[in-house]
Symmetry: D2
Subunit: 216 residues, 4 copies
């Protein structure tokens, strides 16, 4: 009969980015915490499975228990953001993962809608994740001329580029049909960047994207 310490360690080892030693530490962390903490932890994991739903419109996970479920025009279960009429429904941002959505929302700089692709387009055939590409096309077709701009927000690495190309391929026909603009996140210097050490491509982008500043 397997040791229950070992079994929990094994589960934690499956968590993203967690190795053997950190899985061990998690288990001892839980043991050092009292029963009240562990009980709350267990309850929240159980609640997650019950309350959290995937939005039928943008495919992000959201708490349908706390945020009262909204029935939209078409009758589908949609999240609070998709249902929010104060947001700009003419803007749609496509992001690979829920965590990317969270990063963008944290900026408080975007007021349009989202579409969570459900992963990136891997290079290897074996690693392909099932992406919501069909649902993306259906969403665009449904919005039609109401959509003015689609923002493809992917990481600036080879897998991000590959994902962007895959998105462009599936949306090409629809965006032409409805005259929707397609944009990507601006490139340039990021916080902390030192001119001496930046790669040439980024520096070229920073040059061509330079901004006229009113002198204070």
């Amino acid at each position: 009969m397997a040791d229950s310490l070992e079994k929990l360690k094994e589960i934690f080892r499956e968590f993203p980015g967690i190795g053997e030693r950190q899985a061990d530490r998690f288990v001892y962390f839980l043991l050092h915490k009292n029963k009240i903490f562990r009980d709350e932890f267990v309850r929240e994991v159980e609640t997650l499975g019950k309350n959290v739903k995937q939005c039928r419109s943008c495919f992000r996970f959201f708490d349908a228990g706390s945020t009262s479920l909204t029935i939209n025009k078409t009758g589908a279960n949609v999240c609070d953001i998709c249902a929010d009429q104060s947001r700009d429904h003419s803007l749609l941002m496509i992001v690979p993962h829920n965590v990317d959505f969270e990063s963008i929302e944290d900026t408080r700089a975007y007021k349009g809608l989202y579409f969570i692709l459900g992963g990136t387009k891997a290079f290897s055939e074996k690693k392909q994740q099932s992406l919501h590409t069909k649902e993306l096309v259906a969403r665009i077709e449904k919005e039609g001329k109401n959509l003015k701009e689609i923002i493809i927000a992917v990481s600036l690495n080879p897998e991000g580029d590959n994902t962007r190309h895959a998105i462009e391929d599936v949306i090409r026909e629809s965006v032409k049909k409805y005259g929707i603009k397609v944009s990507t996140l601006g490139r340039g210097l990021s916080t902390g960047a030192e001119i001496e050490y930046i790669d040439r491509e980024t520096l070229s982008d920073a040059l061509s994207g330079r901004k006229i500043e009113p002198l204070p």
Copy 2:
């Protein structure tokens, strides 16, 4: 009413070494896993609280459900290692944490017993953890002349040194009374060490601890 995604993220943020972004990823990892995985996870966390006990002799956490509980000579509940008569009961290794014990056991090079101190001796008064120092003295007193050597196994950093000094202070009287030897882990080159870049102290230790090798 707080969002259940947010509540679980907050709990994960308390885990050792976990920041905001990784807490987010854990929650989405659980959402992408199916109900069977989450149920097993919840079950194992609950089992942990029920089955895992702290040994009355060495203070390590062990699974008392799977490993049948052993009643030792003095009647206290002790773990399988403390109760194992094939191990060398004349050797006692003191380690700060359960994870240190696991690192040592993984080497399969040590056959004595252990004592888990329950933490390190911090420099700041505020950060003091409650250490099992009284129980350590009681343990040594109980074993008395049966103990031949106590190994203090702490990290080679200032907090480890501080912890070693604290241990030496509390065991001094007993080890003198019973003539118990006190040792520390050997110092020298560790795997991957490059002579050109090692600090002088380690290199001096490696020199004085050099080993005569029979030529193969």
Copy 3:
């Protein structure tokens, strides 16, 4: 009498970013190289002092021996870039160091002129480097209405910000007088940036600076 190995090591230790061990390696590197290599090295260091001049117009170091010295309109000794009539003389980029100039030139994306400030504006009074601010103002005053845009190209860190503010302060009056625009390098995602991990400010900049892309 000091050891000549030691003396050369000491000199190398003064080189930027070079510690004790790497200084040692440089000396042994030179010893392992033959006399021909060392002689060429010595000759090039000597040539540097003779041939390399600082441009009177942009303050960058340039080889006045190989690039024939140019006498410009005002009679001052100027470098090949300042004298190049095929470059856009209505654009002036201010950079802190010669190495920043090199990074920009390497992109082959900029065709205007430069001004090397000679350092950054430190926060501590003690660390102040003497910057060519007076010469910068004189340069702008000399160009007058011929200048259309000044690009302040500094790193995106606190010292860079501080330097930018110092530049703005000294050029304010002149740029107003001649109606010169002042711009800074564009901000956004840099190569390799992952949306999940970028800071909010950069992500906001990338959002507001998003680029409409014609679908290929």
Copy 4:
């Protein structure tokens, strides 16, 4: 005609561990330093070639100009360490590089003699450096029964292991003939090592090499 800035940058790029940007910084560092500094630098590089000799006995580089050249018993030009009768001539430490010798000397913990092998034994045939293995055997044969111990001091990585095996192969016959002991540097925890994160091999070594400490 090539630019003299570029030519010097190219030479610095050949220095060990120096990339494009740091080579640039070195050149501008020299330009910002005055002529006195550059002249001294040039003089020291030239002196290096004249004064520094390779010891005929231990093959280390030493300053034969400052340290007056010593003629030993056999008439060969030897360095100050090889000629120093206060050092223990029964101990010989074999190290791959001059910098390794310096690291050991810096500890002030070793009073025997040295032999610089001139490199490590690479795995790839193409990368083989010419090692002073013949001279090592000749040195041992010359010392004969005066040698009590040979210390093989190599890094704890695959190339170090490979080098140690190569040394053992060439010295095997001689050490057997004269009954010379062969030792290697001690293994164990190095400064800063944390028990939780050390590899198993090092931890096993630290356990078997544990040291009895008199309680202070």
